[in-house]
């Protein structure tokens, strides 16, 4: 503790304990049974009371102070009792029995009991049953031992009734203290250092009391225990954790550690232990008392087991129901997913039906079988047709992305010449490129066969080429090349278009992302094309990359495994 004091700012409680320890040492240094020593004894008692009052003032709110003030009242009674005791000793050396000191001592115990009980009640508000049963088992075990070893012999001893009653009252009062102390040991408050100090204080007092009344002898070292009890009690109130006890009300119950378990076991086995000890000593075994307490303790143990089993059942039921809730939630998600698919399918179907009529009849008109068209009429029909195609592509893209989201992109694979697919896309983009006077080029070299699905690869090429055409200003260049290169089939679609800022390239393949250069020029689009392109490339085991200079152009590069390698990959 000294090292700790040197290292950090010493806490008041540390200083208090240190001073208290020195004071107790000093007590034994004083000459025994002198006036000085007996007066000094009471001084230490006042030191404990001061700790209680000061600690309550410093660490506790007004509402939380009551039990600690009650402790102080109890201690004051002890000190007053001690003083009366001492007064007799100093005065004429003989003690009357019973004296005023006895009445004051005895009155202090109920006050202490009330204070501890208040603490227990405050910190065990919820799920208190098991703590109460544990405390009851310990209390009844102690009660049995107390009865057989102390109370019964004292009560049956000869002498005046009043004398015997007073003598019995002290050990009986200890039982009164043990009950709430056991409650404290098994309550939530047990997790706080302040509680440990308090429990030690009470324990020190009980041990000294028991030895004193049990043997009727006032050993000198017993004073040490009583003095330690005063100091520890004051320290408990001064410990900063005393204020946090209230906030800890929701903390879990203390674990049934080795000490608590031993205490419980000892108490539960009190009946046979007492019986064995008394028989060995050849003393009265008090068989009725042992049997009665044994039964009570057994019932309590049974009750505790029943509570545990019930808690276990509850926990298991909760686990099961949360499991069921999870399953249900999963089911709901799946149902939601199914509904979404159904919805997308329905929208797609209902858009396609009118589109079928539009494109079908436009086609009939454009074929001029219903009559010759003027150039203007033909051009107008071209506009209707292009826009119907655009709408259809959008519907297809949405449907495709919805399917991607549910992770279903099953390819029916075959050997496909990528150059052929690319050329087809370039030819398809011819009219649009022509309208913008673009120089649209196509080159291919080497074995460009890949293993893939023609429809999807066509969709990929259409997306990339129509993007290039869309984002390239009039008179620019779009060049598409397919070649075998370093064990891969490489497709490049390069344009002299508006370009994509570097900061946006990372998001380019995200769903619904649109480059700022496209948005600012009001170039229409959904932000789905490249997302789809990447999904298709991924599904084919390839890689798509982009390089771009704003204002100069963009190049998309797709590398796919060649048909020979692809066959192994997809096998």
């Amino acid at each position: 503790m000294l090292r700790a004091v040197v290292r950090r700012k010493p806490r008041l409680v540390d200083v208090y304990l240190l001073v208290g320890a020195v004071a107790i040492g000093a007590y034994f240094a004083l000459p025994a049974d002198t006036v000085a020593q007996t007066v000094y004894y009471s001084v230490v008692g006042v030191y404990g009371i001061a700790g209680l009052v000061l600690g309550s003032q410093r660490n506790l709110t007004a509402r939380a102070r009551l039990p600690w003030y009650l402790f102080a009242v109890g201690q004051i009674a002890f000190v007053v009792g001690d003083s009366i005791f001492d007064a007799y000793l100093i005065g004429n050396g003989t003690l009357p029995f019973p004296s005023a000191a006895d009445w004051i001592y005895l009155a202090a115990y109920p006050v202490l009991f009330a204070a501890i009980a208040l603490l227990v009640a405050r910190y065990s508000r919820r799920r208190i049953h098991i703590a109460v049963i544990d405390a009851a088992i310990v209390t009844f075990g102690f009660l049995l031992a107390q009865w057989v070893f102390v109370l019964a012999p004292t009560a049956q001893a000869s002498g005046r009734l009043l004398d015997r009653t007073i003598l019995v009252a002290y050990p009986a009062m200890d039982i009164l203290i043990v009950a709430p102390l056991a409650g404290l040991v098994y309550s939530r408050a047990a997790r706080s250092p302040c509680y440990v100090l308090l429990a030690l204080a009470i324990l020190a007092m009980l041990v000294a009391d028991e030895v004193y009344y049990g043997h009727g002898v006032n050993y000198r070292w017993l004073d040490g225990f009583w003095l330690a009890s005063y100091v520890l009690w004051g320290a408990a109130a001064l410990h900063p954790s005393v204020g946090a006890l209230g906030a800890d009300a929701e903390a879990p119950r203390p674990r049934l550690g080795i000490i608590r378990l031993l205490l419980l076991g000892l108490a539960a086995a009190a009946a046979p232990i007492v019986l064995a000890v008394q028989t060995a000593r050849g003393a009265n075994a008090h068989p009725y008392a042992v049997a009665a307490f044994g039964i009570v303790i057994s019932i309590l143990v049974l009750g505790r087991m029943a509570l545990l089993l019930r808690a276990y059942d509850t926990a298991r039921r909760q686990a099961e129901s949360s499991q069921a809730a999870l399953v249900e939630q999963n089911e709901q998600l799946r149902e939601l997913d199914r509904l979404k698919d159904e919805f997308v399918g329905l929208v797609s179907h209902d858009l396609r039906t009118p589109l079928t009529s539009i494109t079908g009849y436009v086609e009939l008109l454009a074929s001029e079988e219903t009559g010759p068209l003027t150039d203007e009429q033909r051009s107008f029909l071209g506009i209707v047709s292009r826009n119907a195609d655009r709408l259809l592509r959008l519907v297809n893209d949405l449907l495709f992305v919805a399917r991607l989201q549910t992770g279903r992109l099953d390819l029916s694979l075959e050997e496909v010449d990528l150059a052929e697919v690319a050329e087809h896309a370039v030819v398809g983009a011819g009219p649009r490129a022509g309208a913008k006077a673009l120089d649209l080029q196509f080159t291919s070299s080497g074995d460009t066969a890949v293993f893939g699905e023609t429809g999807r690869l066509g969709q990929l090429l259409d997306n990339l080429v129509s993007n290039a055409v869309k984002f390239t200003p009039d008179g620019g260049t779009v060049s598409v090349s397919v070649r075998a290169e370093d064990g891969a089939v490489v497709l490049e679609v390069a344009d002299s278009g508006i370009g994509i800022p570097e900061s946006e390239r990372a998001h380019l393949f995200e769903r619904f992302f649109r480059a700022s250069t496209a948005v600012s020029r009001q170039i229409p689009g959904t932000g789905l094309g490249l997302h789809i392109a990447q999904a298709i490339v991924d599904a084919h085991g390839g890689r798509i990359t982009v390089s771009s200079v704003v204002g100069e152009g963009t190049t998309f590069r797709v590398a796919l495994p060649p048909a020979t390698v692809g066959a192994e990959v997809h096998a």
Binding site: R352, T356, T359
Partner: protein, 122 residues
């Protein structure tokens, strides 16, 4: 090439479109507006091929296909025509016994290719 083709679609506009195309290709056309009518007309007219929409009232195209397969003219070539275009839809159509599945929207050229392909194969 000549002969009768049964077409069925609950959308009048598309039914007319099919009729125009098929007439242009040189076929006779019997037109049904729903599934039940399609089954009845198939029995009456004994067409050489059927083009059936999938989503129709009373009986859908899939059920009509199954009934045609189970009927007297069990190996009648059937083209299902639909705006349901997901792979699972196509699979269901072929499982019902259709010989081909044509997605809407379709072009006259696509329609002609499918019909001629099936008639040449049969």
């Amino acid at each position: 090439v000549s002969g009768t083709i049964l077409v069925a679609d609950d959308e009048d506009d598309i039914l007319s479109l099919l009729q125009v195309h098929l007439t242009r290709f040189g076929y006779q056309v019997v037109a049904a507006h729903d599934g039940e009518e399609a089954v009845r007309l198939a029995e009456e007219h004994r067409p050489m091929l059927a083009v059936l929409d999938v989503s129709m009232p009373k009986l859908d195209g899939l059920e009509v296909t199954r009934r045609l397969r189970a009927g007297a003219d069990g190996d009648l070539p059937v083209i299902l025509l639909s705006a349901l275009v997901q792979p699972a839809d196509v699979e269901r159509g072929l499982e019902a016994g259709a010989n081909a599945y044509l997605r809407k929207p379709f072009t006259g050229e696509e329609l002609r290719e499918r019909i001629e392909g099936l008639l040449a194969g049969g």
